[in-house]
Symmetry: C2
Amino acid sequence: MSKEGHFSDRMTARIQSIESRLVVGIDPRLDCLPDGIETDDPEHALTHLGVGVIEAVAGLAAAVKPQVAFFERWGWRGWKALETVCRSASEHGIPVILDAKRGDIGSTAEAYAEALLGDEPGTLGPYVDALTVNPYLGSDSLEPFFCRVRDGGRGVFVLARTSNPGGGEFQKRPGDEIPIFEQVARAADGWGEGSRGDCGYHGVGLVVGATYPEEISQVREAAPGSFLLIPGIGAQGGSIGDIAGAFDGQGLGALVNSSRGIVQAFEKQPDRPWQEVVQEAAKESRDALEGVIWA
Amino acid sequence: MSKEGHFSDRMTARIQSIESRLVVGIDPRLDCLPDGIETDDPEHALTHLGVGVIEAVAGLAAAVKPQVAFFERWGWRGWKALETVCRSASEHGIPVILDAKRGDIGSTAEAYAEALLGDEPGTLGPYVDALTVNPYLGSDSLEPFFCRVRDGGRGVFVLARTSNPGGGEFQKRPGDEIPIFEQVARAADGWGEGSRGDCGYHGVGLVVGATYPEEISQVREAAPGSFLLIPGIGAQGGSIGDIAGAFDGQGLGALVNSSRGIVQAFEKQPDRPWQEVVQEAAKESRDALEGVIWA
């Protein structure tokens, strides 16, 4: 039950067919729920909100990005909800980028890869198109994930430059001849060998925060074959205009994530049906992004 | 329901009371189960094996270290088993070091910290004494964990130098004036401020693989207040004699992990009761370690 073809080709086809570069991050918080969703049962509340968002953004999101932490927060009940949410996205034909930032070594890395990019029923794997991973432990620690990129049609996004204020502490140290984030980016095209699709991109993408626009261009240059996943617009302070350098001449090769700005949009308009407000927020973000691409 | 006192003091008392520096890693694999545990139901099999190991090593292990990946491998059912295993260790009075290597930013890091070091019923948090975390995203990404070290009596172990062959690719780059792993180690005493116990150590420990013995001493020197957690003896090729430099003059300040060598010991003696074999393997490792310390 590997995925058909290459991740990069599926992603590119999706972007072109719905004309969207927007990834909707699903970060459900039980202290921020629309009216009508009860918090008593975390599994039910997370599922209700997550599936509701998916229904609302199905025609607007190039992909959804469930953030594992917000489900794991509620133990195995949260994990049960996460499975339902990923399955729902899959049933709606929306690619799922699972934001788990896993990283470990040897047989442990293999277990994570099997859990999150595998084919086993009863795990998330069958519903996940791509996974975020952490490079700190080196190439060999990522190989079990790359293996599923080459042979299973999946994608990974390796953290390069994160959007938080302290992201540079190790990723971009003053005095380093080559900052780590750039070393990671330069490695990506090698990691992606054997998974290049007809679109020209391969399956090993990179995460680069929108809050460091000059570094988006640096990464784009260092890793010409990588899809870039760009979080950090909206709540984290990145502006949508800053990310134009991530895209190629056809407006391809990158995805931009917005989480709270969409999933929590209902807070600002509590009197309207919440899914309608979420959908509207997604449409606005999608359109704003398309405006940047084609400006 | 924060933990009483400082993690470092609880850990030190435990080490002294049972005279053991051994951490038993719980990495259960359903393709490697003793006779009498059925694989049909992953939750049951993982629980049976995990709790069985805990019973066997209760008087010999300074701590147990469940590896999340081997439970997550089986989806929410695996997470349910993981909760039972952590609770069982806690009921047996064995400190739990949860090996999750999580790392994320902002509210996401906060969600992981709440899930894994929090007090909420229905999560692992109440049963976990310490957690492994990944430093790639910088100090601010770790702050939600440190917060629970200072105020909740928990511990964290930050990855510094990992035991895999490619661990040095980013952690120790040729040409770096200060390798990243050393920068991480130097930061640890600052991170641990506010959590120093009567034993002299604080709650922000470091992970250093046994496969790089000269670097254990480097880390020991850079982070005099950190507990060191040392994986990589046995299956990964590190030798027990290589890790003497991790301990202080009282034989304190470090813990040595063995996983497969203990949990899968029954494979070599299939005709004996499996828990007896596991217990014997734990005793041998414990005694070998004590021999190194007091040599």
